[in-house]
């Protein structure tokens, strides 16, 4: 199989394009989904897209090893965010009986 050069050898741009697609899919999930958990999953997708870009720049760009460490810190923060956000979702569910974000417009019962 003969491919043009820009297709045959994946480089920085290829990884960045995958990252961009992931980012827009995550954005779509955050905007269209009305379940709190689903919105969270969209945010995780966006964070992962950012991570992929950081690591790709670390590999091909002039970022040396810093990109890897940024990626590690992003993963740490994502873990903390997921734990707190799910605790909030649980508290909201216990109080309001739903996790539909459009019905959560009240500040109290």
């Amino acid at each position: 199989m003969v491919l043009p050069d820009w297709l045959a050898e994946p480089g920085l741009n290829h990884f960045l394009v995958v990252g961009a697609l992931l980012f827009s899919l995550g954005l779509l999930a955050v905007m269209t989904r009305r379940n709190l958990i689903m919105v969270l999953m969209g945010i995780e997708l966006i964070l992962n897209a950012a991570n992929l870009n950081l690591v790709a720049f670390s590999r091909y760009g002039a970022l040396a090893l810093d990109g890897h460490l940024f990626a590690l810190f992003v993963i740490i923060i994502a873990a903390a965010e997921a734990a707190v956000a799910l605790a909030i979702a649980l508290a909201i569910y216990n109080r309001f009986g739903t996790v539909d974000v459009e019905q959560l417009s009240d500040l109290r019962e």
């Binding site: 992931l22 999953m41 997708l45 690591v55 890897h68």
Partner: protein, 180 residues
């Protein structure tokens, strides 16, 4: 086409298609499992980019931790066994349009920009080098991350394990002091 390209395209297709399944699936449990494949595929990408440690961390923290948390979240925010775990989708067309425009813009910027390239060689990425950076240049973020995790744990436990007061249990409206 060498092995690197084959693996790249294989997993690029896997990642993007499972991410799309995650976004468009009507069933939130399917979404969570699709997200698992996306995250695992990304771990392979990190390995392709010489980031072995990030790949392992991705598998441990994301696939092993965050995804399980999300599945727990799905289970705990669902009424009973028989409720179908389905979710609403709103503003699909304008959002899809917006996300599409963002994607096209990003890709256009990425492709047209003349990046400064200084590729790493495989030998540069060692655990020793990462650990040294973590304890020198990144000392402060490293410590702050530890404190952040502790705070997150305490906060999550406090929020999730809080019992309702006696007044609230009877279904009466609680006063503001009780909530705080």
């Amino acid at each position: 086409m060498d092995l690197f390209a084959i693996v790249f395209y294989l997993f690029a297709i896997l990642i993007v298609s499972t991410a799309a399944i995650m976004v468009f699936s009507k069933n939130i449990v399917y979404s969570a499992f699709a997200l698992m494949f996306t995250l695992a595929g990304l771990a392979v990408f990190y390995a392709l980019l010489f980031a072995g440690f990030v790949a392992v961390t991705q598998l441990l923290v994301y696939v092993g931790g965050i995804l399980v948390l999300i599945l727990f979240g799905v289970m705990l925010t669902t009424r009973g066994y028989f409720e179908r775990v389905r979710i609403r989708t709103v503003y699909m067309l304008p959002s899809a349009l917006f996300a599409g425009i963002i994607a096209v813009l990003l890709i256009a910027v990425f492709v047209t920009t003349d990046w400064t390239l200084a590729p790493l060689s495989e030998g540069d990425v060692t655990l020793a080098a990462l650990g040294e950076l973590l304890l020198t240049d990144f000392m402060l973020p490293f410590q702050v991350a530890g404190v952040l995790l502790l705070l997150a744990i305490i906060g999550a436990v406090l929020m999730a394990a809080r019992k309702r007061g006696p007044l609230e249990k009877k279904g009466t409206v609680p006063d503001a002091d009780k909530i705080i």
